[in-house]
């Protein structure tokens, strides 16, 4: 197996996902098959090849740092699952 159950659980935690016990085996198998396929990349000689993260050669895209009103507070909060007094509400963070 390319990826163990424990690794799936570890990665899920990094990704803030809760993986169902019943699903872990299936996921490990599916991800294992995919990762095994990815190993074909090892056969490519990439010594000295620069990595590409952006297909169009562009350097920094600057604009004037000008103030603009995109949303007002109400519209920014309109989709919030929980809000109060113009703020987003989240579960208690500090004990």
């Amino acid at each position: 197996m390319k990826i163990s159950k424990e690794e799936v659980i570890y990665v899920a935690d990094l990704a803030r996902l809760e993986v169902d016990d019943q699903l872990v085996d299936k996921l490990a198998e599916q991800l294992g098959t995919i990762l095994e396929y990815m190993e074909t990349l090892e056969s490519v000689d990439t010594k000295g090849v620069r990595p590409t993260s952006h297909a169009i050669s562009m350097t920094n895209a600057f604009r004037e740092d000008e103030e603009a009103q995109i949303f007002n507070r109400d519209s920014a909060l309109a989709n919030a699952p929980d809000k109060e007094d113009g703020n987003f509400i989240v579960p208690k963070v500090v004990g």
Binding site: V11, A12, A15, L17, L31, I34, M38, V44, A55, P81
Partner: protein, 491 residues
């Protein structure tokens, strides 16, 4: 010809001559949706009332002599393009009730041009899929055979255009998500050059690959839509400040002096269906007859394209989708015993299985100890794939290939076999990795009567060449005039 069957150009001509009104046209499209969307399932949201109101405004503008090529034309949008005050779900339960407070730049441009926005179209959740079976809401069926998938992830867009439930549509393409459904549904689908169209207001999947583009009934309609939506936008720092040509100027006859390249790796590709192979070969022959010169080219790293893409795209997705945390918008789970529990429950219940699979894959590829072997390596091989295209385009103007290795497959056939599904993207992924434009144009039918598309690719910002080749091919064939037989609501 019934009103809903019109192309953008023909509808525009009739609107301009005042032979029809936008209100009549829009009502005809809405009636068509009522009649056939029950079996097809292309729409997530239909906004009939707003559409008629926009049509009335368009009619008022036309009566005052104000008309653009899109004024009064009913169009629909893949449901990951933000529309102000109109629900935008991205095919996901996590955004089921999301009402954007703003319009995407493409939507602003369409509205400014007077287009009528009919509704929002089904898709694979977060555009991750090749069949639209991964929508969090429903299946979309292929109008040519309701037991088959329409392709994906812009399956709703392709099906809606094919079944005349809109006059034109927008989709998005990260690894073939416009071209492959266009091929499966027998319509024209264009993935423009990376950065050619603003992505402001496009829900992000993989930011170095995503691009918005049109799905239309004809090549000319694709050029007309591009004239309106292309161009630099200060709100999208990845959009490119290149001048936008008049794309319709490329729609002229003659392919003399055009050199088309055929990649030898593609003709030998594993799993290529014999019908697809024959139909595409016939199309290449036709293009030669039209005056183009044909050369064999090589894209030596083609066999690594799927592996590179399925490292890079999920990696970028795992980062982009971190924003769905149940705080600012979208679904939040009821169990909120702590912040971490809230995040985890929200994301696990809000995202579907394919999205979670890709987030896990991407997180793994980026995690400490694996980054160099996966993401780093894939980014280097991506450079080699780009070099392959540069070398190939030294010898030819455009590259021809199939869009998908097979015609549309049966619903359910590949849904639980992710790697097989990924491998079906073999011909389309490289255009996204290289950032080049690609178009799918109808080029024939399988022995079972399913549409097959021809892919044409060109250098960065050479959409004009795609239009020229596709238009010349289309003008000498009648594949684009064929319609699926749909008998309306069968209940």
């Amino acid at each position: 010809m019934k009103l809903h069957e019109l192309t953008i150009q023909e509808a525009h001509r009739r609107l301009k001559q005042k032979e029809i009104s936008s209100t009549d046209l829009t009502r005809a499209v809405l009636d068509r949706i009522n009649a056939v969307d029950d079996p097809v399932g292309a729409y997530i949201t239909v906004d009939g009332e707003a559409a008629v109101a926009q049509a009335e405004m368009a009619d008022a503008a036309i009566s005052q002599g104000r008309i653009t090529p899109l004024t009064g034309i009913p169009v629909a949008l893949k449901d990951l393009i933000c529309t102000k005050n109109l629900r935008t779900t991205c095919g996901s339960r996590i955004l089921e009730n999301f009402i954007p407070p703003y319009d995407a730049t493409v939507v602003k441009k369409l509205k400014r041009a007077g287009a009528v926005i009919v509704g929002k179209l089904n898709m694979d959740e977060f555009a991750m899929g090749s069949s639209t079976e991964h929508s969090g809401f429903k299946l979309t069926r292929n109008p040519w055979d309701l037991t088959r998938i329409p392709g994906g992830s812009s399956g709703g867009s392709a099906a809606a255009v094919a079944a005349d439930m809109c006059i034109g549509a927008l989709g998005s393409d990260t690894g073939g998500s416009i071209r492959q459904p266009a091929s499966h549904c027998g319509v024209v689908g264009l993935k423009p050059t990376y950065g050619r169209i603003s992505r402001f207001g496009l829900v992000a999947f993989a930011s170095s690959l995503d691009q918005i583009g049109p799905l239309t009934k004809t090549v000319s309609d694709s050029a007309v839509m591009m004239n309106t939506i292309a161009g630099y936008d200060a709100s999208d720092s990845t959009s490119v400040p290149e001048d936008v040509p008049d794309y319709t100027a490329f729609l002229e006859s003659g392919l003399n002096n055009m050199v088309v390249g055929i990649p030898k790796e593609y003709t030998a590709a594993r799993g290529l269906d014999p019908d697809v192979s024959t139909v595409v070969e016939n199309a290449v022959r036709k293009i030669k007859e039209l005056g183009a010169h044909c050369v064999e080219i090589s894209l030596p790293h083609s066999e690594f394209v799927v592996a590179v893409y399925y490292v890079i795209a999920p990696s970028e997705a795992s980062s982009n989708l971190a924003r769905y945390d149940g705080v600012k918008y979208g679904y939040r789970d009821k169990d909120q015993s702590g912040l971490m529990e809230m995040y985890k429950n929200t994301r696990s219940k809000g995202f579907g299985p394919e999205v979670q699979r890709r987030i896990l894959l991407g997180t793994y590829s980026l995690s400490a100890g694996y980054y160099d072997a996966y993401y780093g390596k894939a980014s280097q091989v991506r450079t080699l794939i780009i070099e392959d295209f540069k070398n190939a385009f030294n010898r030819c103007d455009v590259i021809l290939s199939p869009v998908a290795p097979t015609p549309a497959f049966k619903i359910g056939e590949k849904v639980d076999d992710p790697l097989t599904m990924y491998l079906s993207d073999i011909f389309t992924l490289s255009a996204n990795l290289a950032g080049i434009p690609g178009i799918s144009v109808p080029c024939g039918f399988s022995s079972e009567g399913l549409p097959i598309g021809l892919q044409i690719m060109a250098r960065h910002f050479e959409e004009g060449k795609l239009f020229k080749v596709a238009y010349n091919f289309e003008q000498t064939t009648d594949f684009h005039t064929k319609k699926p037989q749909l008998f309306g609501n069968r209940r």
